[in-house]
Amino acid sequence: MAIKDYLRQRFFPHMWCPGCGHGTVLNSLLRAVEELGIEKNDIVMTSGIGCSARISGYVDFHSLHSLHGRALAFATGVKLSQPKLKLLVPMGDGDALAIGGNHFIHAARRNIDITAIVMNNKIYGMTGGQYSPLSGVGKKATTAPYLTIDNDFDVVELAKAAGATFVARTTTFHATEATDFLKKAIMHKGFSVVEILSQCPTHYGRKNKEGDAPQMVANYDKITARLGSKKLEENPALIGRGIFVDRQAPEYCEEYDKIIEYAMKGRK
């Protein structure tokens, strides 16, 4: 199937700014679905609120554009009630880790079979450029005219500590790598997290003098390095890219099925 067959073309043009990285994430994600050959009817995409969240309107899957921060809570209801469905949950950094931080760590803790995609542009884009919990210290934002003093989360470390059984990180510069990680995340049984650094030239790049979209994308190649690479070994301050966690553990819905089996036996 062609990529465009996964899109709801009548709802285009999309609302993302020129140069936004989110379209690249959508591209990587749809290629992953296509290469895996998953039926469109078997996929539910649940999203929250923000630029990233609009992705769910554009894809020809079952789509649930929910509340700010709550995408994983909605997804948990869908998945547990109908475990045969594949749940894809793209979220922005504020969506996933500020207002939705609680749901993020608890979905990871349960190891419920959902794929969370954190589209990290380090800013609240839709509301016009306020700092997020992933902006980091010393950044400029409309709510940080004197620069941020807030420390940022490391999504990978947070997901690992909370119990996610698949954790990966990549960027929009590495679109084919993103497809590869997303394929593995989707096929992984359990809670999977893929963080994708995605440029926001309009609200982040401009204010923080990181250049236009091409410069921001090119910069992702400079500031990151593959896990196990010589580049990372020689420059440990670079942001690691790759698969950080890939382990097997009991999955929530399968464990609940065992409860049902036990409870039904007890009743007879």
Binding site: G57, D60, A73, F74, N102, H103
Partner: protein, 382 residues
């Protein structure tokens, strides 16, 4: 066949009603005084293949049941004041996206943490207006366990019929009271199932295009129709729109689907209402004291009756007006600062004849409390 009789708490009667109605999914969070509903369903649901999950918070519980409802399941959650406050944004989502779901709020004293282990009926207006923006809602209540059972069944039926969240507004006293429940046989009470679309595969399914009878047939997530669900104003495909016509049409539809059916949604009981000169209007556990008092006064020849409301929202304005038209005085009996009373005053011909008998101290209102007020109204002193 002999009837199955149980001696249980009101919260358990709610669980029995939910199971009878076919609940398949529950998500919740521990909170007094509703926790027994979650505890019972954690045991009972998996016995019949259903699912229970204790979520990380009240918000997540509300979100999870909405997600589960979209896969075609009958869903509910249960909570009390603080949790009910937290759920409001997602309740608004269910109103906007028209997702059937049932929320039991076993009321305790508020505001804030309030009086967790004591009775109140202070969430009446929150049930109506807790979430932001114009919207409509159905809220039901009951004063005894047999009625809790049947009104819970009704809640699921109305949620499916009107594709709306339905609030069960119980209270701590009735939730924790133990009394008899006679379980109805299968088929004794009507059950409304999910209305699914008959639109075939490959045909353009419009999830938000009402049928001639106003109902919106659904398609389960995972079934052949893929569509968008959103809390934004949306067109008949569920896709976001800020077209003024689309916005106003959708909002009108959300209001009208309930308002135009007040007569079929309204549930009430009359106790000793024949020729009543004094009408007590009450609901939930307060109604038990009102009924008790009316019964005693009737035995002494006083013409006192009780109009017990079992549906609070949509407010049965015409019913109130009609039943109070001949009354010398109307006493609203409730455990809050007069939340229902203001609506009763607005409904009757002469607001000056409406009085409030209430308690707001966490104690159940007594027949003596109501009698005291009645004597003052009658000019007989306390």
């Amino acid at each position: 066949m002999e009837k199955s009789i149980k001696f249980i708490q009101g919260n358990e009667a709610c669980v029995e009603g939910a199971l009878y109605a076919g609940v398949e999914f529950f998500a919740g969070y521990p909170i007094t005084p509703s926790t027994e509903i979650a505890e019972c369903l954690s045991q009972r649901l998996p016995e019949r293949g259903g699912k229970f999950i204790q979520m990380e918070d009240e918000i997540a519980s509300m979100c999870a049941i909405i997600g589960a409802s979209l896969t075609g399941k009958k869903v509910m959650t249960a909570t009390s004041g603080p949790g009910f406050s937290l759920k409001q944004e997602a309740i608004g989502y269910a109103c906007m996206a028209e997702i059937p779901c049932v929320i039991a709020n076993v009321q305790r004293g508020g505001p804030s943490t309030g009086n967790p282990t004591h009775v109140s009926q202070g969430d009446l207006n929150q049930a109506r207006w807790g979430t932001h923006g114009d919207h409509n809602i159905i809220a039901l209540t009951a004063s005894n366990h047999q009625d809790i059972f049947s009104i819970t069944v009704d809640a699921f039926n109305l949620a499916e019929t009107y594709r709306t969240p339905v609030i069960l507004l119980f209270d701590e006293a009735i939730g924790h009271l133990r009394e008899k429940l006679v379980l109805p046989d299968e088929g004794e009470l009507p059950i409304v199932g999910r209305l699914r679309t008959s639109v075939g595969k490959g045909v353009d399914y419009r999830p938000y295009l009402p049928r001639e009878d106003g109902r919106l047939p659904m398609s389960d997530f995972g079934a052949e129709h893929r569509y968008n669900v959103t809390g934004l104003f949306h067109d008949m495909w569920g896709f976001p729109s800020n077209n003024p016509q689309v916005v106003s049409d959708l909002l009108r539809h959300l209001m009208d689907k309930i308002d135009n059916n007040v007569h079929s949604i309204t549930r009430y009981k009359e106790h000793y209402m024949d020729g009543a000169e004094y009408v007590l209007i009450s609901y939930g556990s307060s109604a038990r004291s009102a009924i008790h008092m009316a019964k005693n006064r009737r035995m002494k020849g006083e013409k006192i009756g009780v109009l017990e409301l079992q549906s609070l929202w949509p407010f049965p304005q015409h019913l109130i007006r009609e039943k109070c038209s001949k009354a010398k005085a109307v006493i609203v009996v409730e455990m809050n600062s007069g939340q229902l009373m203001y609506h009763v005053k607005a409904a009757v011909d002469d607001p000056g004849k409406v009085f409030l008998s209430n308690r707001i101290d966490g104690k159940l209102i007594t027949p003596a409390d109501i009698k005291g007020l009645l004597r003052i109204i009658q000019g007989r002193g306390v």
